[in-house]
Amino acid sequence: MTEPVLSLRRVGKTHGIGAQRVDALVNVDLDLMPGDLVAVTGRSGSGKTTLLNLSGALDEPTTGEIIIAGESLAQMTKNELARLRRVAVGYVFQQFNLLPSLTAAENISLPLELDGMDPREARSFAEIALVEVEMEGMGDRYPDQLSGGEQQRVAIARGLVGPRSILLADEPTGALDEATSESILRLLRSRCDAGAAALLVTHEPAYAAWADRVVRLKDGRVEGVSVRNRVPETVADLA
């Protein structure tokens, strides 16, 4: 049986202490298998971003356990967590995904180079990733020479470059028009179909429809999980 690439076991996160204590996340269980595209929805303050940050080892849970690629994060040092982010987990944010001083290819190869890979070898991985996100030949462009959609594609390519297999996307279409959003979601879907696993935070029910499962959060708790059997071809299919 295939092992989950990401597992959350009764994970909780509390901010502040005493009267100012806020439970951002309470007893969340979640497994992300290879090929899974899981959407996380909920209102503002429901804990979506906290869940994403914990899943990407950017933050530490107050309770519970997180396992990425078979390794528990609990005992890891800061440097080990940083390395895990370089080799296992990629991020895509709503905007400002790319370092403006690096080209598209350099942005993609950055985690590999930070991990010690030879820059030429890292570049070849970046070229492959660019092809996969349909941006072949655009590797030498700087972020300010790319459209919003193209920038998100580069971010997705970076999120899944080399050995990385988990993509955490926080409202990746929030700053894009509908058509571009659709193309980004299609890309995400296709990368998951090719074996990657992705956690997609969104508050748009229409976009959540591209996911295999939808996790609904409310006040930090999982309110419900929906499983879809059919993935739409276009956003219009959902209408």
Partner: protein, 900 residues
């Protein structure tokens, strides 16, 4: 962190530098300028200094030993050297000898140089001088000159030039160009022996040298020196008491040699057998001079004879490499302390702007080390590029500015003017300074949680509890270190003093941050803009504290200078009130044949000075040869100073002539003299006593500023002159102007064999203060402008928000004006105690005493100039704030229109 990972982080750093070209250029320039200045300083030191080898070569030529005889009587010098030559021929006949004479003479009214009669045909002369062109002079009317002098005379070989050497003006035929092997800018004239005789007839002083070379020359020279100790008495005046008693060994030979047996006995009795205190030495010396002056005492009346060896020369002092590299490194270090502060502010502001990028790096797996490397790498790159640019700039200044620099240095500048060793120090200091400046922002950025950084927010700074104790600790430890180091004679004491002083400055600089935090809590009590300023400084403590520290370092200079000046002025009160700038006292004439011979002035002398300063008021009076002991006003040290006569002892009283009273411009003095009172021109008004030649008289003192040296302070009423009829009289003339003399006037008045006191040209105290204030203002403005420029982006975001909610655009000008004024206020509040503390530590560590006719005062007595400092503390922040308000732009009220 792997090497490749570091490479990736460095790549980000490099790309960031390229992307932020303006800021990078600013920082590179900030580093380059001090490095360039340091290189120029090194070049100037190198061009003004000779190596030990070069100096030895110019002194000894190819000889191993050199004996020198000097006296203010050229005949005596020659006699000594004749003895030396004969003695040498007797003890070491195999050695080679060469005698030559050298006189330091004036060429016209403004240039000075050497005239010498070195025999260029002798091999031992090689190295002292070399003939660059032409031939050595052989006859009285022939000369060879240095290349620079030939250039100044605009003369070529074979031409006849009119040259004024000392008092002698005559035509010479230029037969050659001669120079030391190291080209110097010295004025130098090589003459034949009889040509030099002609010059010496008017110039008087001469140094006669005997070069000793060949086999056994070192032993022979050493033996010659030993022989001199036994025979020197034959050159003493007849009647000198020999041998010199051990009790008077501290007395100079030229004074002692003029004493008779009774005088020696008196001094020996004064010395006694016990240990002498400094005051006893002073008293005996003073008495000995009085005794000697009764005879024909003049300084330098006895010949001096020294023997030096080449080897000893070579073992002395720092090498030029050490001197120039030390100078350049010290210059760079001083300037780069400022650079570190300003660059630190720039890096801090830049890092804050890049916070989201740093968050993005973290999200992609960059560790804390990676983040640090991206900021530090930028600092390193800026340090390397900045110092390289500084080196190029410095060398270019030295190379291209040579025509301008050359007149101020002693060596003819060739090549690039600096050696690689001069560059190492400034470059290292520059790189280290910028990396240190980048370290704190790098560390802070690396510690920001990735999730917080991704939101572009800096976490609120928790108060750093260690800052206050560490600040006080560093200051205290630095003070202790400086005190201990100054008291020790260790070879590393200079380093310890420097380290201690830096610790003191660093400790106080650290306190800036908590002070800003505390003051920001008072923000509620101020109107909107003031509130914003205090809050901004409190919130962005690192940036603000750096600005305060940078300004504080600049302000230390005027605070310390003002405190030193006030303390020095207080100490000098033992010599009387500050000297008036326009007083010029004509007290006698020189006998040009020698030193110290002073004759009385005549009407012609007064007319000569009056013709130079025709607008001056001239007061004629007679000085009386009375030694005046004034009532001491200052008492310091273990013993009470009594009887420290005004210098020179004797001639301390004067006739209270109507001319003089009118010149001094104090009517009360005239009234007192008319009433028959003896008047003391002193410090304050009131009755006093004065001892004149050991007889005490009641007197009246008035605060009247007069020349401290030479001007009689005791005025005798004309009605009482009969009481002092035995006192010798000498005419004097006091010229009073409303201004200082110009350089030209001063040279003219001092160029005619007249003994003249005062009238030194230069800036007045007010002018010096005004210049110092102006320089401080400019320096602080530069620092404030730099710091404001690098942090403006940050404050501008907030100001845009404030404008968006309805504030006028001019709030930006008010805000920045208040901000810079406030930071300057905090800076000066820190600089005041620190500057005074630094001066106190340095002055109390090496205490000595100032003595004068009004008593004695310790150097440890520090005077804090409250009013000047208060004026500085109030006016400077106001001016800085006002100038900032004038120079910055208002914030735009509407966003810029985009092109359609």
């Amino acid at each position: 962190m792997s090497g490749s990972g570091r490479k990736a982080a460095l790549k980000v750093a490099f790309r960031n530098s390229v992307r932020n070209r303006k800021r990078t250029f600013f920082l590179v320039a900030l580093v380059a300028v001090p490095v360039a200045l340091a290189v120029v300083v090194a070049g100037l030191v190198r061009a003004s200094t000779f190596t030990q080898e070069e100096q030895a070569q110019m002194e000894f030529g190819s000889a191993e030993m050199k004996a020198r005889a000097w006296s203010n009587s050229r005949d005596l010098s020659n006699e000594v050297m004749l003895w030396a030559g004969e003695a040498l021929a007797e003890i070491a006949p195999q050695t080679d000898q060469l005698i030559y004479r050298q006189a330091y003479v004036s060429f016209g009214s403004s240039r000075y140089g050497r005239a010498l009669d070195l025999d260029m045909a002798d091999p031992m002369a090689h190295g002292i001088l070399g003939m660059i062109d032409g031939a050595p002079p052989n006859a009285r009317g022939e000369i060879a000159v240095s290349p620079k002098m030939a250039e100044r005379l605009e003369a070529s070989i074979g031409e006849t030039v009119e040259l004024e050497i000392g008092e002698l003006l005559r035509d010479y035929r230029l037969v050659g160009i001669a120079s030391p092997p190291i080209l110097t800018t010295d004025d130098l004239v090589l003459m034949s022996p009889d040509g030099l005789d002609e010059v010496l007839a008017s110039e008087g002083n001469v140094e006669t040298s005997l070069l000793i070379g060949g086999v056994g020359s070192v032993e022979a020279g050493t033996r010659l020196g030993e022989l001199w100790e036994g025979v020197k008495y034959q050159f003493w005046p007849e009647g000198a008491v020999l041998p010199k008693p051990g009790e008077l060994s501290f007395l100079g030979d030229d004074v002692y040699s003029l004493l008779d047996q009774a005088e020696v006995d008196e001094l020996v009795a004064l010395a006694g057998n016990g240990e002498l205190a400094q005051e006893d030495y002073d008293q005996i010396q003073s008495r000995a001079y009085e005794m000697a002056e009764d005879g024909d005492f003049t300084y330098g009346s006895l010949p001096e004879f020294y023997v030096d060896g080449r080897a000893a020369w070579l073992s002395q002092g720092l090498s030029v490499d050490q001197q120039s590299s030390l100078a350049s490194t010290a210059a760079a270090a001083l300037l780069l302390v400022e650079v570190a502060f300003v660059a630190g502010a720039a890096f801090a502001a830049g890092t804050r702007r890049r916070l989201r990028e740093i968050g993005l790096l973290g999200a992609n797996g960059a560790s804390e080390k990676h983040v640090r490397v991206t900021v530090l790498g930028e600092g390193l790159a800026i340090g390397i590029i900045g110092s390289a640019a500084g080196l190029v700039l410095g060398i270019a200044i030295l190379f291209l500015g040579r025509p301008l620099i050359q007149p101020f240095v002693t060596r003819v500048m060739t090549g690039f003017g600096v050696s690689p060793i001069d560059m190492i120090g400034p470059v290292l200091v520059a790189i280290v300074s910028v990396v240190i400046a980048a370290w704190l922002p790098a560390r802070t950025a690396a510690r920001v949680p990735t999730t917080t950084a991704l939101q572009g927010r800096m976490p609120a700074l928790a108060p750093r509890k260690w800052v206050v104790p560490v600040g006080f600790g560093l200051t205290g430890f630095g003070t202790l270190l400086v005190t201990v180091a100054l008291a020790s004679v260790s070879s590393i004491s200079n380093v310890l003093v420097g380290t201690g002083a830096l610790m003191m400055v660093g400790g106080v600089a650290l306190l800036a941050s908590p002070i800003l935090a505390v003051v920001s809590k008072l923000a509620n009590r101020f109107p909107a803009t003031g509130r914003l300023v205090l809050r901004d400084s409190g919130r962005h403590r690192t940036r603000s504290a750096v600005a305060v520290a940078a300004t504080m370092v600049i302000l230390l200079a005027p605070v310390m200078a003002l405190t030193l000046d006030a303390s020095q002025s207080e100490r000098e009160l033992v010599m009387g009130l500050p000297e008036p700038e326009g007083h010029l006292l004509l007290s006698g004439t020189y006998d040009l044949e020698g030193f110290g011979e002073v004759g009385p002035i005549a009407d012609g002398d007064v007319a000569q000075v009056a013709s130079i300063v025709p607008e001056s008021f001239v007061a004629r009076f007679d000085a009386l040869n009375l030694t005046a002991d004034l009532k001491p006003r200052f008492v310091a040290g273990s013993t009470v100073q009594v009887g420290y006569c005004q210098e020179p002892c004797g001639w301390n009283a004067a006739t209270g002539s109507p001319d003089l009273v009118a010149a001094l411009g104090v009517p009360e003095v005239g009234a007192a003299l008319d009433g028959g009172d003896i008047v003391v021109l002193g410090l304050e008004e009131g009755p006093t006593t004065v001892r004149l030649d050991d007889v005490e008289y009641p007197a009246v003192e008035y605060p009247v500023p007069v020349l401290r040296f030479g001007m009689p302070r005791v005025l005798i009423p004309e009605s009482r002159l009969d009481d002092f009829e035995d006192a010798e009289r000498s005419p004097r003339a006091l010229f009073i102007l409303e201004r200082s003399l110009t350089e030209d006037e001063w040279r003219q008045t001092n160029d005619g064999g007249l003994e003249i006191m005062g009238g030194y040209p230069g800036l007045s105290t007010t002018q010096v203060y005004a210049l110092a204030f102006g320089a401080t203002l400019v320096a602080v403005l530069i620092v404030v402008a730099l710091v404001t420029a690098v942090s403006a982006a940050e404050t501008d975001e907030e100001i845009r928000t404030i404008v968006a909610v309805g504030a006028p655009g001019s709030i930006r000008r008010r805000f920045l004006g208040l901000l810079t004024g406030y930071q300057t206020t905090v800076a000066i509040a820190l600089a005041l105690p620190l500057g005074v503390l630094l001066i106190w530590v340095f002055s109390s560590a090496e205490e000595y005493f100032y003595s004068g006719p009004f008593g004695q005062i310790s150097t440890a007595a520090l005077v804090v100039p409250v009013w000047p400092l208060l004026v500085l503390a109030v006016s400077l922040p106001l001016l800085i704030g006002f100038l900032t308000t004038l120079s910055v732009r208002s914030a735009p009220v509407t966003p810029p229109r985009r092109p359609t």
